[in-house]
Point group: C2
Chain length 164, copies 2
């Protein structure tokens, strides 16, 4: 059985977009259509993800004929978690609805100042997940991509530079 | 901004259900309607979650007038992850669609035998999340709930026993 509730597909798109942007000169804005073409993605939906990244302060967006998107700070200062939360939202995946306070034997309110044990386990797992995503930056991933495919950066970079 | 794609609410229901079942005599099946009443939940939807748990081998389901659900093995042998995956599905939350193989500079197929660097980071995070959920069993949570509310087990247990 596959996961019923998957992560937003935009997370993958946004991460690939940020890696590509990390290779371009910092003062150079790249249009969403160009990034979409590079990754074989539909431009309107990718644009939506890029807007979410800009809203979260990961990208900077500029308008006009030379407009587009660029990283808002150095790629070594953007963690994978920054990108994931920009797309998925800041909240935790598990939401406790205080089931312990319902039914014929509700836990008294005064005993509910600490989180429910179930919510607590789910929170610990979310924190472990976040820690892993915090330990890796866009710069780390870009370097790994380049190490496995030494031509890719140069090619993508000159293609983005030449025609945007 | 709250998380756009949250975890299935059934995860919370299923975990509370398993904790309650861990308190009942092992040979005693509890009807879904009874567990729903105990937790103040709508019976048809909780029943769907319990069926998923039975399908995954976490619960055993029996039909007939004394039918219902019970744990398929000891609560110390059921991890929180077992319950979460039974409801959410076994697959990982992040799904790689091989974006690196698209666009004007696709990574050659032969270089794609190892996972994409982005998929790899997301997988590491998923594993960290799963490890945390594997480290805790239904028995652990039940013990913590009981420690914080010493009467709850006895009360719930006798209520479930008396009227099911």
């Amino acid at each position: 059985m596959s996961r019923t509730v998957r992560m937003n597909q935009g997370v993958e798109w946004a991460l690939h977009g940020c890696v590509a942007l990390s290779w371009v000169a910092r003062d150079r804005a790249i249009p969403a259509a160009k990034l979409a073409e590079l990754n074989g993605l539909p431009a309107p939906y990718l644009n939506k993800q890029l807007q979410a990244l800009a809203h979260a302060g990961v990208l900077r967006s500029t308008n006009g004929p030379k407009g587009g998107f660029r990283l808002a700070r150095g790629p070594e200062e953007i963690t994978v978690l920054d990108v994931v939360l920009a797309i998925e939202g800041e909240g935790e995946a598990f939401r406790c609805t205080e089931i312990r306070q319902r039914g014929p034997f509700p836990t008294p309110r005064r005993d509910c100042r600490v989180p429910c044990q179930i919510a607590s386990v789910m929170h610990d797992a979310e924190m472990a997940w976040r820690r892993t995503l915090t330990e890796r930056s866009i710069a780390d991933i870009a370097a790994e991509v380049e190490a496995s495919n030494p031509q890719v950066r140069k090619r993508i970079c000159s293609w983005l530079d030449s025609s945007s």
